[in-house]
Symmetry: C2
Subunit: 338 residues, 2 copies
């Protein structure tokens, strides 16, 4: 019997239906091609800096060699314009805002072939430091209401470029989706007097069945109402509504956690396409008691179809409990083999 589960943050239902996993789906064709360390046509490879706009942040290499380790540049095909004011127009029910904001690309490594799963932890740490520096700078822009940091890995994730990179898009509005999350979190806080994320974490730690990993500062969970197979949340254990509140030791811990989880997905699911995104409070809610930020990794193993588009619900053929067990065992296999 399938089971419907309600996501506590969005109140959306998910159908957990492992039996449906037995139908034949589209298979990935052939082995993945090896990726070169350097691609002369790639706009993100060292030496091709002129192919991108001038950088807004560069972290130099730490190995004594010249050049950058992480480079942040404005997106050449930006979804929003860095100049202008977010002027609003209301004409009957047609509401528009001029498309002002920030759209950055965070180039994660000079090496074209790397990804978070394969980079050394110190290099992952530099990527996260660049997220934090840009998040803080962009959040302080009075035109910015909401900052989304995300990564698209593999062509099935929506990326158009192979070189490892993340992106940051800051918009002059809070999206309806985020407002819905705020509403539910506030409502929970009003009912119970505690942060919905802190409460969820306590329940998950007590139940244990969906825990993948625990470190000093983070807990990795397969969410109770996981909408897709192997959706993985990385929660800070301390109450923090905004990614901007992360401390240096937490950032350093997060680098190890993120690398470990992506390594396990890489090893366990054969380098799947995935997205990740930092789910955080809006720019001006930087100290809210009711909201809890987390990083969500969304493997793209299945496709959204008409049911999901029409209903907003999802059908997940892998239970989060079995996904958590699988991801715990990837570690076990790796340790045993080492």
């Amino acid at each position: 019997m399938p089971e419907l589960r309600q996501d506590r943050f969005t109140k959306e239902w998910v159908i957990i239906a492992p039996e449906r996993g037995k139908r034949e789906g589209a298979k990935r064709e052939g082995a993945q091609k090896p990726i070169p360390h350097y691609d002369p046509k790639c706009p993100f490879c060292p030496g091709n800096e002129a192919m991108t706009p001038e950088g807004t942040l560069e972290i130099p290499r730490q190995d004594g060699r010249a050049g950058w380790q992480v480079r942040v540049v404005p997106n050449k095909f930006a979804a929003v314009s860095r100049t202008g004011q977010p002027v609003r127009h209301v004409d009957g029910s047609r509401h528009t805002v001029e498309g002002v904001g920030i759209h950055d690309v965070i180039i994660e490594s000079p090496d074209h072939s790397q990804t978070i799963a394969t980079l050394p932890i110190t290099d992952v740490g530099m990527v996260l430091e660049s997220y934090k520096a840009r998040f803080d700078a962009v959040s302080a822009d009075p035109r910015v209401a909401q900052v989304i940091i995300f990564k698209n890995h593999g062509f099935g994730s929506g990326t158009t470029l192979e070189h490892p990179h993340s992106q940051l898009i800051a918009t002059p509005v809070i999206s309806s989706h985020v407002r819905g999350r705020i509403y539910e979190a506030l409502r929970y806080y009003d009912d119970f007097g505690v942060c919905i994320g802190c409460a969820s974490l306590e329940e998950e730690l007590a139940e244990q069945t969906r825990i993948v990993l625990i470190t000093d500062h983070f807990v990795v969970i397969e969410p109770f109402a996981s909408p897709v197979p192997y959706n993985t949340h990385i929660y800070p254990r301390r109450h923090m509504c905004s990614f901007g509140q992360i401390s240096p030791p937490e950032l350093s811990d997060l680098a190890g956690v993120l690398k470990t989880v992506l390594e396990r997905l890489y090893a366990g699911l054969d380098n799947p396409d995935f997205n990740y995104t930092i789910v955080t409070a809006p720019a001006d809610h930087s100290d809210a008691q009711y909201y809890h930020w987390y990083l969500s990794i969304i493997p793209r193993l299945t496709q959204v179809a008409g049911f999901e588009l029409g209903s907003g619900m999802s059908i997940n053929t892998v239970s989060p409990e079995s996904a958590a067990e699988f991801l715990r065992n990837v570690r076990a296999r790796k340790s045993q083999g080492a």
Copy 2:
């Protein structure tokens, strides 16, 4: 300058950014293979009826030959179970409902190679009649709260089978997504005393720039805050909250409208992968004054990436005004060429 536009039904923002369309995206590789009229391994082809569960509805061929034209069967790999009761369990913040409901497959033609765009209008009419008959029957089931009818066309749409088919999934809950639409529609009705869909239609007919087609009973529109290129809505002109209220003349008109629109997408965009879904009021809101059903066609020309997953917003590189002009001209080219 990109423009943010607010969807009036969901209040979600969309970034309309035509400039961003100039970046290179993944191209569809090679020409599409011709599809045979009959595939001996296909569970939906005539003669293979034993490969599917027993049918719940069959419409016989109208051309004098034996056999069925449309066949509705339970989905063999159903997302929900047809038996049992939607028992609810609440354990702290873990809310579940047993996965009871109906999951039908509507086999649209005995011919493996056809699609709505290529079927005769009378055959499309029979597909819609089967939607209506099943919608009515399933809505009357007291376990059912919400009925989603949808179609996945092409492997990029999430389908796993080539034979032309639609699906119906009835769930024992109203999804948060649909509840959000109801809330916004009710709020609009409370503010202005008219149905948000009727008001939208009036504004669109006055402005004209996003209209693709008008018939006796339907208006075809590229929505103001279209989340993806060529998203197309087919609205009934008469106030109706539920697809179950459609009359026989309207159903017959809809067959022509749906075929025409899909023909234009087929011709204009080279047989794109697409989904469509009927956006309708929940099963027990069958006569609401504030809600308006429509059919939404979602071409799958672009991929959802981390920004969309994190924010709920979309970036659309084709303005609905230019999409509407394009789809009006596909007709013109066709007529001139005929």
